[in-house]
Symmetry: C2
DNA sequence: CGTGAGTTTGAAGCACATCAAGTCTAGTGG
DNA sequence: CCACTAGACTTGATGTGCTTCAAACTCACG
């Protein structure tokens, strides 16, 4: 009931993200590639120091914008690797299959983030990417991206930063799983989401998570029940307001200090 | 006592690795850069499909071969990022500092593996790299490496594979920390070490670990006591012989099936 | 307004952490 | 070369945070 009398002041990032693709046909899987220069999330996926000619080259990278329905796979484990993807709108989870069919969530991705980098080494994907809501992605053939990176130095550096960022993100995750207790994990998870929303121009204090408790638990290495209990406890401690998937962060300082 | 009557048949990989650098001056920090084409671990760090001219370019990348004494840092967290390093001989751990000075091990590296990729995004290192024994590394200025990767396509692809491999390694680690019990973690750790030694031409069944139980525990997200107990348990189950840091794998199939 | 997936909450059990000896080992100096 | 010592390792006893199992509740959606 806490959030009922305290309605969301800012629209959820994901609502906005959905608006973003409204012009795209509902069921259509493919669309003509739009210009990066006209794309709202371009600052997130371009180096940002390119001249007109270079920009045109970058535009040519995006062969296709694909819509992925909620629950559908962008790619599956063991699929051959050809493309990387940049998330234009919506959100994904990446999962690996455990023995006995149980799935482990290895990451959540939101607008501006890149998917598919795990496929480069073995020339096939090692995890699957599943849309948490109707989402759109730019499809970028990796060979083409490499060609452009050999031509345009800032683009090369940019790709390396994206890959390095992924390495850093994962080592933070290793840190979290190796050293934190359940309550700290959930707090860190919320702060991380908040920060990523913040850099995308959404509210960093109020948002609507698209993932279930079970997916959060899997990601954080705890059970869904423990995840749920930690949300309740953080709420009791007045650090967040949580009503299902609606989250409001009340004291990010205290969350970080846990 | 088990290993007393069953002496190591193959020399430990680390012993060999030490022999490898015997020609280098003991205390000397720097040496003239040797040719990659004459380096024993070249197949591990080169694409392997280069002509003579390209090989010369690759040779020019290695500005220096540095010796790092046991316990010394190759780089520390927050150091500015300029170089990546390829481990010629010896072994390292990468660590991040927890709050209150406790350190968390995020990885172990052996010959042929690359260090320092975490520094690209923020232009400074986020973890520290500490030698577990006297080790030698090739120092490669990252800007130079990027230049060469814009010139030589196979080299570019190779770098991307190295980075992707690091991403995959870390997601496997996330999987391990998120889903496995202590005994499985230790088993997976041993199998992983064994496989890496195997691809380097060392015995994949007998080796000498350079890391302490405390470092292993930190890496695997368990205490040193639990790590020790799991080594004992695996020994009781006749899956390994473990006497301190000497390890012999008796039943890798059963270890994988845990 | 019923249905089922998602969520919350409680009770009991267990795997691992913590605390505490005691033993072993490698490196050091006599 | 061997005794000495500090760090590394093993093992036991006890405590606890999380999992597991179970049941009830919520809410979106037909």
């Amino acid at each position: 009931m806490l959030l009922a009398d305290a309605p969301m002041l800012t629209p959820s990032p994901f609502t906005q993200a959905t608006d973003f693709v409204r012009r795209l046909q509902p069921g259509g899987a493919q669309h003509p590639a739009p210009r990066c220069s006209q794309c709202a999330i371009s600052p997130l996926c371009n180096p940002g120091e390119l001249n007109a000619e270079e920009l045109a080259q970058v535009d040519s990278l995006v062969q296709e914008v694909r819509t992925v329905q909620r629950g559908a796979s962008l790619y599956r484990a063991n699929d051959p690797f050809h493309n990387v993807y940049i998330l234009r709108s919506g959100s994904f989870k990446t999962v690996v299959m455990h023995r006995e069919g149980r799935e482990q969530v290895t990451g959540f991705q939101i607008a501006g983030e890149m998917l598919g980098l795990d496929g480069i080494v073995g020339e096939q994907h090692l995890c699957g990417a599943i849309a948490l809501e109707r989402s759109t992605v730019c499809v970028i053939p990796f060979e083409l991206l490499e060609d452009v990176c050999r031509e345009i130095k800032p683009m090369q550096r940019h790709l390396h930063k994206v890959m390095s960022r992924e390495i850093v993100r994962e080592s933070n995750m290793i840190m979290l799983l190796g050293t934190m207790r359940a309550e700290q994990r959930v707090a860190a998870f919320l702060l991380n989401l908040a920060e990523r929303y913040g850099t995308r121009g959404y509210s960093a204090t109020e948002f609507n998570m698209r993932m279930t408790r079970s997916e959060i638990g899997s990601y954080l290495g705890i059970t869904l029940e423990t995840a749920s209990r930690m949300f309740s406890r953080l709420q009791q401690e007045r650090l967040v307001q949580a009503r299902g998937k609606q989250i409001r962060i009340l004291d990010s300082g205290a969350l970080a200090r846990l």
